[in-house]
Amino acid sequence: MNSGTFTGLFLGALIGTVVGVGAYTFVYAKGSSYLTDNPAACANCHIMNDQYDGWVKSSHRAVATCNDCHTPDGFFGKYMTKMSNGFWHSYAFTTGDFHEPIEIKQHNRDITRQACRKCHQDIIEAIEGTHAEESTLSCLPCHGSVGHLTR
């Protein structure tokens, strides 16, 4: 947590000075929550409550946390994603300037699409068969609500 807050502060300050919203934002708005894996932390932002409440009721509550589905594999990718989301979402939250209901951006949607495969490679082996990366199925049309029944 501490190291998280620190890195958060550091990143926040860095970009903060550039866009004019200080590290204050990141810390106060608990953007550092992005750096933990505890779903409750995500809900530090009331704006994440719908997803959190949905997740608690979902089939995945016992098996997958937010970050399992919303960050890519590997330490580096994982923390870069957390930081950029952490900062930009804190920024958006503070300025209140974002589309509601929250729309997942393509970049994050792709991360989530891939996340399913981290755990379900086996069961989809047959249906994915020999398909090349670009023609793999998206699970979301049929299972988009497994994480949290938001829609």
């Binding site: 106060y28 708005a29 009331h46 209140g96 589309h99």
Partner: protein, 425 residues
């Protein structure tokens, strides 16, 4: 606004600055306790046009008879066939696109329809905040007051009301919970439930919260008629809500709204059956209420409140639709317009068919055919007119129940053309 305030909000939904009683009818007083809802409420004066809905602000020079400086566009000018369809009825005189709640009282008071007929006080039921006036008039008894006002001339009744629909018409001042205050709906829904085997249905005691989110709108957005000499406002639901059920109801009591000026047919006018049509659609079936789309939750800081700016959801797609449909706004708009486009094109086919029938009856009449000979054609006109009007007068241009709307239009076309055939026999 800074982060401090955002966090504050979450804890303080509202401050009770004034006491609200069952006789507090001015919305601005309620607004002191609920400024956010009030802000939305007063914005129903906005006029924005969508492809088939919303409304357009048309400037006019006020007169003594009609002091309004802005009205909505005339539907009669947009489609003159409506005049033929309603020939001899007040609607052929003046019929405009409906607009926001703020205008309901003025639009009713000053429509030219008032000039060509004398209306009863019954009209007030759906165009004014009548809850307090009804109770006053009834000496504390809502129904008595309702019955009394129904039998007054419109102009006298008009003097007893001041506000368009207001907070007290939908809310219990002590709990803020929704409640139905309109006798027309209280009795209409009871008759409907009885037909489904539910005895003595009391909507305020027995309806679920989600149902209430549609019922408060069903107080007014329904087909209706004035029953008997007492001009009692009645919703023709005792056989069901489908167009077939309602026509059967009117046939049984041999009701007619007017006699068609050009054909002599005893005709029926359908009026804004939004509640009836919605109830046939997939959204109603899925438990989606009027308020979900027309008063969606909107976030104000950390609070979620119901948007009291009641209007076309197409002007508010993100809150109205995207909570359930994760399609882009443009795509959702196109989906609606595709549905409305199909409805509108078949509605035009049906309109032409009806106008053809009316013209044929007219010429058959001038050619000296007897009433006996014209009887079948007139019966067909009556049916075709009611079915077509049931979709035409329904204000979603088919969206509330897409397939049902086109099914009804298909039957209407059949009636009109059969009427023409019957004359050629």
């Amino acid at each position: 606004m800074n982060i401090m305030e955002r966090k504050q909000e979450a804890r303080n939904p509202f401050y009770r600055v004034v006491e609200l009683t069952d006789t507090t009818d001015s919305p601005d007083v309620w607004g002191k306790n609920f400024p956010l809802q009030y802000d939305g409420y007063i914005r129903t004066v906005d006029q924005v046009r969508t492809r088939y809905g919303g409304s357009e602000a048309i400037q006019r020079t006020p007169t003594n008879a009609d002091p309004r400086s802005v009205v909505a566009q005339s539907r009669l000018e947009e489609d003159p066939r409506l005049k033929t369809m309603w020939a001899g009825y007040a609607f052929a005189q003046d019929f405009r696109e409906e607009r926001g709640h703020a205008f309901m009282l003025d639009d009713q008071t000053f429509t030219e329809r008032q000039a060509v007929t004398t209306q009863p006080g019954t009209c007030m039921h759906c165009h004014a905040s009548v809850y307090v006036p009804y109770k006053k008039l009834g000496g504390g008894d809502l129904i008595k007051g309702f019955e009394a006002m129904n039998q007054m001339p419109y102009t006298d009744a008009r003097k007893l009301v001041t506000h368009p629909v207001a907070c007290i018409d939908c809310h219990d001042p002590s709990t803020m919970q929704l409640r139905v205050t309109r006798p027309g709906f209280l009795e209409g829904i009871r008759a409907l439930k009885a037909s489904q085997g539910v005895k003595d249905y009391d909507v305020n005691a027995m309806a679920s919260r989600q149902e209430m989110r549609a019922y408060v709108c069903g107080q007014c957005h329904v087909e209706y008629y004035f029953k008997g000499a007492e001009k009692r406002l009645t919703y023709p639901w005792s056989k069901g809500l489908k167009v077939e059920n309602i026509l059967e109801y009117y046939e049984e009591i041999q009701f007619r709204d007017w006699t068609h000026a050009e054909t002599g047919a005893e005709a029926l006018k359908a009026q804004h059956p939004e509640f009836e049509m919605w109830s046939q659609g997939i959204h109603a079936r899925s438990g989606v209420a009027c308020a979900d789309c027309h008063m969606p939750y909107k976030r104000v800081g950390a609070l979620k409140i119901s948007d009291h700016h009641v209007r076309s959801p197409l002007l508010n797609i993100n809150n109205a639709c995207q909570t359930c449909h994760k399609w882009p706004e443009e795509e959702l708009k196109e989906r609606v317009e595709t549905i409305q486009g199909r409805t509108f094109s078949l509605r035009n086919t049906a309109m032409d068919a009806l106008v053809d029938l009316i013209n044929d009856i007219k010429s058959a009449r001038t050619a000296g055919k007897s009433d006996a000979q014209l009887a079948p054609a007139r019966k067909y006109q009556r049916k075709a007119q009611f079915y077509l009007d049931f979709v035409e007068a329904e204000n979603s241009t088919g969206f509330h129940a897409p397939q049902e709307a086109t099914r009804i239009l298909g039957e209407s076309i059949n009636f009109s053309r059969l009427g023409q055939v019957s004359l050629k026999k």
